[in-house]
């Protein structure tokens, strides 16, 4: 998999604080890439650097292996966190204007916009003023103008904020469809559930530095703690009745007649060993490895990082 976007030792300081401190990011082509971090970590600054709205103080940003060039704005689609449209302008006229600013010819923009308006079933809005539309309607228009020039790299900053659940779903479907068509999607969010659902790769930025970087699968594997959970039916004993033979018990609970046992294996111990010791006690209804959620990993890493000044 080739790398479509790469940031190398990117540093950016503002008058009062350091926004990015030697940040390195690699975004594989065709992936959905999550840009994560607490508020004020420097995510928006990085996104603005990719969009060439601001320039880094030092370090280099590459697109397709070449340092970023002014014309690259045509290959990038950006949905900012602070987004909106001209309220007094007509929808169609405005969409045409924004599409032309992204390098499309008038004719091309018109054809593609018609397609998108048909797909979203909003043809009737073409001649309406933006201020006459509801918030959800405006968001659809906003999404269309972000993707109409078929950018290879799409950047969504908190795309789901302010969208109602129906539009969130629509947006997710469109993101997956765009990915299937070969676009790379970089999105910045606090919504960890959507990260689990959509992202292939992530980078976690905290206090201007990269603290975690890689594929979601690899990170989860790296952060799992060899913890397993089993559900037992028909076991009436207590915690002390478990024949664990040296396996560390983390928790024991009982609900609806089913006992849940959670245990951490030491190096060298195998899950089969745990399963064998539990099988005589009752009927095993479920057995699985506990993999940390991105939410857990996020909180854990950011808290660990607190020590750093």
């Amino acid at each position: 998999m080739s790398i479509i976007f790469k940031a190398e030792n990117v540093t950016k300081a503002f008058a009062n604080h350091l926004a990015l401190d030697k940040v390195n990011v690699e975004v594989p082509e065709g992936s959905i890439f999550g840009l994560l971090g607490p508020n004020g970590a420097g995510k928006t600054t990085l996104i603005r650097i990719i969009n060439q709205i601001t320039a880094p103080d030092s370090g280099t940003v590459y697109l397709d292996g070449r340092p970023l060039h002014r014309d690259d704005v045509y290959s990038i689609g950006y949905l900012p966190e602070e987004r909106g449209l001209y309220k007094k302008m007509k929808v169609g006229e405005q969409a045409l204007y924004l599409a032309q600013l992204k390098g499309l010819s008038h004719h091309e923009a018109l054809v593609r916009l018609r397609e998108w308006f048909t797909r979203f079933e909003i043809q009737g809005w073409w001649n309406r003023k933006v201020e006459e539309l509801s918030k959800g309607m405006q968001q659809k228009v906003q999404f269309i103008v972000t993707v109409v020039h078929r950018p290879r790299l799409l950047i969504f900053d908190e795309p789901f904020s302010g969208f109602d659940p129906i539009n969130v779903n629509l947006l997710k479907e469109e993101i997956l469809r765009l990915k299937a068509e070969g676009s790379t999607i970089l999105f910045s969010t606090h919504n960890m559930a959507s990260v689990e659902e959509l992202c292939d790769h992530i980078v976690l930025i905290n206090k201007a530095q990269t603290i975690l970087h890689g594929s979601v699968h690899d990170i989860k594997q790296a952060y799992k703690s060899n913890t397993f959970e089993a559900d037992l039916l028909g076991f009436s004993g207590g915690e002390q009745d478990l024949p664990l033979e040296g396996i560390e018990l983390l928790s024991f609970s009982r609900a609806n007649g089913i006992a849940s046992v959670r245990a951490r294996l030491a190096p060298g111990q195998s899950p089969n060993q745990l399963l064998r010791s539990l099988m005589p006690l009752g009927q095993v209804q479920g057995f699985r490895e506990i993999i940390p959620s991105m939410n857990d990993i996020f909180i854990r890493r950011v808290n660990e990082d607190k020590a750093r000044i």
């Binding site: 008058a15 950006y78 602070e82 909106g84 302008m89 972000t146």
Partner: protein, 442 residues
């Protein structure tokens, strides 16, 4: 370049299509044309005939009031009280009572009427009595009216500008003053009107949150310049439409009323015709008026219109570019229009100063204050416009224009720095200190 054109086009079309623009475009010329037409029209319409009944106690004026086109005079009995009683049925508009006095000639009259008599009636009575009384007094002193006429003298002072090439040119101080003032005030007005439009446009983009979407496609500087140029074109369009429409309305009016107007013009002026009966004493007045008309043509010929129009456009554009860049910087630093107050002061002070100083510049267009104010780019668009009709040395003009160009390049450069930081700042009250930091950091 293609993008900046797209931006200019949008900024232009959005504003030109606005209702307020269309209303202003038509209202302006109608106001201006009516300023020119209404006095003429009023003068024409006051031609309604007035019937005067004269109660002359002395009997000195019998038959001496001359009928004119719209004054019909009837002499009544000298009994005022009786005539007053009859007045309502008499069909007269005004009752003129000239009382007998202790002196040999009466010098006052009383006008009785149901409605306030027009100024025309008043001056008609005044003129006729004055003429007769003067003639009587001359006769009493044995002075031949012809001698008196030959004694009357009018001194004409003509100012002539000596050109460096030895050429001479008549100058007209009052006209120069008026032209300078009009030019300066127009520029002041346009800077405020269209500069604040640029500012509102920037604030609108910020509050609509569209600005970040746009600057991901174009450079902030392109957006800034596109907006400034777009609004400048709106201003020029409006100005041009005003000139064309005003001339159009006046021409149409002139054509449809050409006969009455030419008649008034033949009378030597557009003031009330009652005054212009050809009499020996009134004659010089008419002469003066004819002379006035000729003078107007001479004045129009004396103004170097090419220089005037060129410098008006130059100073209008230069001043507008300089100030609108600063207005845009303010717009980018705030979240809404009410927050602009604290930053507006440094911009409005030089403009208002220029207007306040205009009077003393007119009085002394060559003085040091006039010189400095017409050199400094912040005040030069207004002050130089005032100086130009008086004739400005080439060196001053070149220096002023050069500095204005440098001034607006500097202002656009400064504004660009504040602008590109400011447009992405939300929900923060910005101070002067902060603006200064933005300037330094980028």
């Amino acid at each position: 370049m293609k993008k900046i054109f797209l931006i200019i086009r949008r900024e232009y079309l959005v504003r030109v299509r606005k209702k307020s623009f269309i209303i202003m475009t038509f209202l302006g010329p109608i106001l201006m044309a009516s300023l020119m037409i209404v006095p003429i029209w009023l003068a024409q319409n006051s031609d309604k005939e007035s019937r005067l009944g004269i109660v002359d106690e002395s009997g000195l004026f019998a038959g001496k009031f001359r009928d004119s086109e719209n004054m019909k005079v009837t002499f009544l009995s000298p009994d005022l009280e009786a005539e007053k009683l009859k007045f309502a049925q008499s069909g007269l508009d005004v009752l003129v009572y000239i009382p007998r006095t202790e002196l040999n000639v009466p010098e006052k009259a009383l006008l009785y009427s149901e409605k306030q008599p027009s100024l025309n009636v008043k001056s008609y009575v005044q003129d006729n009595m004055k003429r007769e009384v003067e003639a009587m007094k001359l006769a009493a002193s044995n002075i031949d009216p012809d001698i008196l006429k030959s004694v009357k003298t009018k001194i004409e002072v003509t100012t002539i500008k000596l050109g460096e090439d030895g050429g001479e040119q008549k100058t007209f101080t009052e006209v120069s003053m008026a032209l300078g003032f009009i030019g300066g005030i127009l520029i002041y007005f346009f800077i405020f009107l269209f500069g604040s439009q640029v500012m509102r446009g920037v604030i609108e983009e910020k509050t609509n949150r569209i600005v970040e979407v746009i600057v991901s496609s174009v450079r902030p500087f392109q957006l800034l310049m596109g907006k400034i140029v777009g609004v400048a074109l709106v201003g020029l369009t409006q100005f041009l439409l005003w000139v064309v429409l005003t001339l159009g309305i006046v021409t149409v009016f002139q054509l449809s009323f050409s006969d009455t107007l030419s008649m008034a013009a033949a009378d030597g002026g557009l003031s009330d015709p009652g005054k212009l009966v050809q009499t020996e004493i009134a004659a010089p007045v008419a002469d003066e008026m004819n002379q006035g008309v000729a003078q107007v043509f001479e004045v129009i010929g004396s103004v170097n219109w090419v220089v005037m129009i060129f410098s008006f456009l130059f100073y209008f554009l230069g001043g507008y570019l300089l100030y609108s860049a600063l207005f845009a910087a303010i717009g980018s630093a705030v979240d809404n229009e009410t927050d602009t107050q604290q930053f507006m002061l440094p911009i409005t002070v030089p403009l208002i100063l220029a207007i306040v100083m205009a009077q003393s510049v007119v009085e002394n267009p060559e003085g040091p204050m006039a010189f400095w104010l017409s050199i400094i780019p912040l005040t030069s668009p207004i002050i130089m416009m005032i100086r130009i009709p008086f004739g400005v040395p080439f060196f001053d003009l070149a220096l002023s224009m050069g500095l204005l160009v440098a001034g607006f390049i500097g202002a656009v450069w400064l504004a660009g720095k504040i602008y590109r930081t400011g447009i992405l700042m939300y929900g923060k009250k910005v101070t002067y200190g902060e603006l200064f930091k933005w300037l330094r950091q980028s």
